[in-house]
Each structure stands twice: as C-alpha cells, then as structure tokens.
C-alpha cells in the first residue's frame, strides 16, 4: 500500500504540467524569435542570399557555424542514452529523455539550417538527383537523416511504457493530449513479450546509434577537412569534432537538467548526485577537447607556414582574437576550473559552467568556419574589399537566433506534452532499490 502511494507520487510528480506564468512568457519569447527568424527567411527567399553578408571569400558564414553547432549538440543523445546504458550506468536514467529530446530538436534544426544556407530550398532536390557519392556533403545528408530517424526511435521506444501511464492520467493531462497519447501508444499493455521486444529494440538502437553518431560528426568534420584550407587541413578533425560535440552536448544536458529541475520542482529525481556525476563527465570531456584544441593549434603554430600563419595570427592576436580567447576560456578553461572542485559540481555552479560550455561552443564553431574562409591558400584577385571581412547581416542573425529558439521551443513543447523524466523507468528503479 505504501509503495503504491509512493509510485503514485512519482507519477504525479513526473506527469507533464501546464505552463506556469513564466513558462508562458518563455514560450512567447521563443515564438517571437522564431517569428523574426521566419520573417528574415522569407526576405532571404524573396531577395536571395544577397541579403546575407556572405561573399566570394566567406561563402559559409553563420549558417554553417550554426549547423555545426547543432550537429555537435545532437551527439549527446548517444552519450547519455547509449553509452551510459551499455555501460550499465543507472544514475543517468532521469537524464536520458532530456538528452534524447535535445538530440532530436538539434538535428531537426541542423537539417533546416542547411536548407536555409542553400538559398533556394527547392535546390535540395538537386542534391538527391545530381549528387556525387564521392562527396562528403552527400554522406552528411544520408547520415543526418539516419541519425534523425534513429534518435526519434530512441526517444519513442522508452516512451511507450510512459504513454500507458499518461493515457491512464486522462484527468490530469486533458482529453486532447489523451488522444495523442492513445494514437502513439494505446497498444502498449506492458506484457512480458512487449517488454522483451522493447528492451531488445532499445539495446539494438544503443549499439547502432554510437557508430552512426560518430559518423555524423566525422563526416561533418570532413566537410571541412577534405577542403584544402588553413585551419581545416588536418587529419585530426574527426576526433576533434567528436570530442567537442560530446562536450557541448553534455553542457546542454547540464543546463537543461538545472532548468527542468527548477521549473518542475524535480529535486527528488534530479539530485545533487546527478550534477556531481555529470560534472565529472563534463570536466573529463572539457579536458579531452582542450587536448584536441592544443593539437589543432599548437602544431600548425609551431610550423607557421605562411598561409597558416595569417590564419593563426588572426585568431591569436588579430581580428578574431577576442572571440577566440573568449571561446577557449569560456568554453573550456573556466568550466574546467569550476568543475574540478566538488563545490563547483553543485547545481548552480554546474548550470553556469554548462551555460559557458554551450555559449563557448557556439563561438568556437563560428571560429572554425569563418576565419579560415578569410585566409585561403590561393587568395582571390581583384575582389571587393568588403569580402575580406565578414559580419553577419541582421537577416542572418535573425534566422540563426530563430533556429536556436526553435530548438528550445521543441524541447519546451515536448516537456509540456511528455514526461521529461521517464516515469516507468523511475518507478522500476525505485522498486529495484526497495527490493
């Protein structure tokens, strides 16, 4: 009897809740950003890519930086869900759905931002009709679609037992959502055969998603590394991208953990222990990424070949130096210092460190893309002076901010509709602990 009350409490705590006043304000702000982004995109569709600040030199500007950022952040799904699950780590259970929805929303906007960057969306069809199988761009399109489907399935399968709970809680969730829950999972009865099939499917997905996730990041890095340019001409780029992706993904989960914990009062489920564990993961990943950064910058800086030198000087002491050092300190060094100490792995400092990692990572992606394009091995002759510098136009900023807001909006709506912490798994774990 006591246990059933306890399980009822867990269910009540973890059921999706209506937006509070702050939730509504937050959603409205995100919708406003999305609307501004959509308006800017309409302008771009109407007038062409001329509305952007991209030119002969910087042909991949803020859009591709943003794309790389989204791709990076999406890796977290495979880290938290697959890697930790396969390693039989149980403390990550409350974080799996947060990680998965971050992955799905990020990959959705990674795909969209590529279409935005193409200028004319209908030309995406040309990629399928006339694409070359030798091109990393085609590989990227294939692997992103694969990763999206896989992430969606990995989100869906563990949701099935929760859908049963949600269908039962019709009075709390309301009739409209109940319809959706029924459509998605009315067939789930929790029979041993269903549980067996579901467990098997989840295990297969966890095994499959890891190489696919590695592929998506490696192939994205090859978009750059197979192009002969200073800063990109590196055999290290795949590992460099993967380590950076793990870091930013983990940082995003930490931020989301803190926000959901506060917003939905989930202190019982996302405990200080989770922050401590995630803090240790985050500091390890930050150190790993720092190691790859040293490799990426120190080795070319040691040789200082002429075209590399111009690029590196621009980063270390030139036009991009403030942004570069901001990204290094904010994205790696300061979080490492914070997280190395136990006190730094408490919720609030963790939130700050996670936020710094995510913000630093966004600027890092910008620095990977733009300064390199300004320093080609073969400089173009007779181009306009403005092409030697790049600062995104307001349309580019609006679309970028809109896409970032869109990602957060997907996560927000998901948390409104579905339990952000797996209810069924939490109950099972509580039960196992009790036994």
């Amino acid at each position: 009897m006591e246990k059933s009350i306890e399980y009822a409490n867990i269910t009540r705590d973890l059921l999706p809740m209506r937006f509070s006043r702050w939730g509504k304000v937050w959603t409205a702000i995100l919708l406003a950003f999305c609307a501004a982004g959509a308006f800017a995109w309409i302008l771009q569709l109407k007038n062409g890519l001329v509305v952007t600040a991209m030119g002969d030199y910087v042909s991949w500007g803020i859009y591709i930086s943003n794309f790389v950022f989204f791709v990076a952040i999406s890796l977290v799904g495979s880290l938290i869900t697959a890697v930790l699950r396969l390693a039989n780590v149980h403390w990550s259970t409350p974080l799996t759905r947060i990680a998965e929805i971050i992955a799905v929303s990020a990959i959705v906007f990674a795909s969209l931002i590529i279409v935005v960057d193409m200028g004319r969306p209908e030309r995406f069809l040309n990629l399928l009709l006339h694409g070359r199988m030798q091109s990393p761009i085609i590989w990227d399109v294939i692997v992103i679609s694969t990763y999206f489907i896989l992430s969606l399935l990995l989100l869906y399968f563990p949701l099935l037992p929760d859908l049963k709970i949600l269908i039962r809680a019709k009075e709390t969730t309301g009739p409209r959502l109940n319809k959706l829950y029924r459509f998605l999972g009315s067939f789930w009865k929790g029979t041993p055969e269903q549980v067996r099939l579901s467990e098997k499917a989840i295990n297969i997905m966890c095994v499959t998603i890891i190489p696919v996730a590695f592929c998506i990041h490696t192939v994205t890095s090859w978009l750059f590394a197979t192009t002969y340019r200073p800063g990109w001409d590196s055999t290290n780029f795949g590992a460099y991208f993967i380590s950076g992706a793990f870091l930013v993904g983990a940082g995003a989960v930490v931020v989301a953990m803190f926000v959901f914990r506060k917003a939905y009062h989930l202190e019982k489920y996302i405990t200080e222990l989770h922050f401590d564990k995630m803090g240790k993961v985050l500091v390890m990943l930050a150190l790993l990424y720092l190691y790859f950064n040293i490799n990426e910058y120190l080795v070319p800086a040691f040789k200082m070949r002429k075209p590399e030198a111009a690029h590196l000087e621009d980063l270390f002491a030139g036009e991009y130096a403030p942004m570069f050092w901001f990204a290094i300190f904010t994205g790696m060094l300061v979080p490492i210092v914070i997280l190395l100490f136990k006190k730094g792995r408490r919720p609030l400092p963790m939130f700050i460190a996670g936020l710094m990692v995510v913000v630093g990572a966004w600027f890092k992606r910008y620095l990977i893309v733009t300064p390199t394009l300004l320093h080609p091995f073969l400089p173009m002759q007779g181009v306009a002076e403005k092409f030697h510098h790049y600062f995104p136009s307001w349309q580019e900023w609006a679309i970028t901010m809109g896409s970032l807001a869109g990602t957060l909006l997907i996560i927000t709506f998901f948390a409104r509709i579905f339990p952000i912490i797996p209810i069924h798994e939490t109950i099972i774990e509580q039960h196992e602990k009790a036994v």
Binding site: M133, I142, T191, S198, A201, T208, V212
Partner: protein, 298 residues
C-alpha cells in the same frame, strides 16, 4: 654726342634692370629645373632568330633615394638620325617603365645602309621629369646554333664586316632549354665565351627532361646586354627530351571524378554501410508492429 652722354645713366639703369630681370628669370628656370628629376633611360636592341628585331626602352628615375619605374613617359625613337623619315616609333612606358616597338619595314633601306647603327630615344620631359636624349649603338651580328655528336651544342657569333659575316671572339653566350616559366641552362655552366673562331661548345646535360609527346626540346642561345651587339637570341628544336605520353584519368573512376564515375570500392562500402544501418532501422520499425501485435487481446 653730348646729348647721348646725357642719356647714358638712364640707359645704364635700363640695362641693369633688364639684366637683373633676365638673371631672376634664369634663376627661376633653374629653380624649376631643380624640382624636376632626371630620367635614366635604357635603350635595348633585340634580335630573335636572326629574323625580326625590336627595340625596348626602360625609363626609371631616382625618387626619395630609390630607383622607381617611370610610367607614361613618351619617347620618340629614331634610327641613326633624328628625322621624320627615320622614326622607329613613338612609345609610352607602362607601369613597369617599359615600352617596346618593332623595327618597321620602311626602315629596311636605312638599316641596310650600314653595319653599325645608332638608336636615338628622345624624351620630351614633363612637369616631373627633365627632357633627355639617349643613344644606343649596335653592330649588326648574328647567332648560329648547331648540334654536334654526343648532344653537344655549337653556337657561333658573327658580325657583318665589309659585307661579309666574320666570327667574333670573346662574346659571352648563354645556352639554355626553354621551359614554361624560365630558361634552364643546358649544364651547370651558366655562360660560355666564344673562342677565336667565334664559337662555343656546350654539352647538353639535362637528360630526361620532359619534351612533350615527341620528346622535343627548344634550345636557346642568347647574347644578353652586349655593349656592341645588344641582345641576340636564337632557338633550335632538338629531339633530346623524354617522350611524355600524357596520362589522362579524366574519364576514370576516382574520388574527384564526375557523378557516375564513383570508385567501385567506395560505392560498395557506402552501400554496405547504408543498407546495414537502414536494415536495422527497418527492423526497429518492424519491432513496433510486433509490439503492437503482442499487445492485442487473445
């Protein structure tokens, strides 16, 4: 006479004033001249393959302690004498201070009238540079290239003397192979000097040099900036190069080829990975159907 003496002081004063005026004017002119720079002009005579000749003019000036090319300087170049009938051409220097003109057929008679000729380059001057006149004297000469056994190149220099071609000794000659960017010396020796027979012999030591699909190389013998003969150059094609059969992989399967020329190994790898992963995805979707079926009553 007495009346003349009365006017003498006035005349002296007028003369003095005129003299002062002239002197001041002369001083002004000198001042103006001193603000203008002198142009250093080099006139070069060039003969290619003993067939066609051209003249080059290079203008430079010393500005702020450094030599700089003079752009847009206008020259009138004459052959032997400064007259309308012997005008070789009116030249204007380019960004590098260079200008070139060929010798017109109308000057053939003038050219045949002697064996030594003077090219006169007149520069009118402008607001920045003083006018100048530069002369270059050249003797008519020719170069001959022949090949001997063992891949030896024999070059001879002859000048026109009393209607006959006479060998010239002590002339410095460079022998090279024509390449795309510059000329490559045929051996480690940079230059050769003609002997009493007016000849030099250079050994060709560039074996294996690519010579296109027929293995042909173009030898060049050059006399450069010679005070007496100017610049002479003669070319000869020899089959001493390595035959280079161009290999085109344009239509082959490669990573950089067109769409339908993807390497087979890459296609196999890609299809293997793609179908392996997507078969798993299809299997997973199929599992949903199985789960659905397993949930049905009965």
């Amino acid at each position: 006479m007495k009346r003349l003496y009365n006017y003498l002081p006035v005349c002296v004063c007028v003369l003095a004033l005129l003299t002062i005026g002239e002197l001041t004017a002369a001083q002004e002119t000198t001042k103006q001249d001193s603000t203008r720079n002198d142009v250093l002009v080099t006139v070069g005579y060039h003969n290619v393959n003993n067939q066609w000749s051209y003249l080059s003019v290079h203008a430079k000036a010393k500005l702020n302690g450094k030599f700089q090319s003079v752009k847009g300087a206008k020259f009138h170049v004459y052959l032997d004498k400064d007259s309308a009938g012997t005008l070789v051409g009116d030249l204007v220097t380019d960004d590098k201070g260079d200008a070139v003109t060929t010798l017109k057929p109308s000057l053939k008679d003038q050219w045949k009238s002697g064996t030594t000729h003077t090219f006169i380059a007149l520069y009118d001057g402008d607001a920045h540079y003083n006018a100048s006149k530069t002369e270059a004297v050249v003797k008519e000469a020719r170069l001959k290239v022949d090949t001997a056994e063992g891949r030896n190149i024999v070059v001879s220099v002859e000048e026109l003397k009393d209607g006959a071609w006479t060998p010239v000794k002590a002339v410095e000659i460079k022998v090279a192979v024509k390449r795309l960017q510059s000329d490559m010396p045929v051996s480690d020796k940079e230059s050769f000097t003609t002997d009493s027979t007016g000849k030099i012999t250079a050994e060709f030591k560039r074996d294996g040099l690519p010579g296109g699909d027929k293995g042909l190389l173009t030898l060049i013998a050059k006399v450069e900036d010679n005070d007496t003969y100017g610049n002479l150059q003669v070319e000869k094609t020899v089959p001493w190069g390595a035959v280079l059969k161009p290999v085109s992989n344009f239509d082959e399967r490669s990573l950089w080829a067109a769409r339908f020329k993807t390497p087979v190994w890459l296609l196999l790898m890609e299809y293997f990975i793609f179908f392996s992963v997507w078969s798993v995805l299809i299997y997973l979707v199929f599992q949903i159907a199985r789960i659905k079926k397993a949930g049905m009553p009965g």
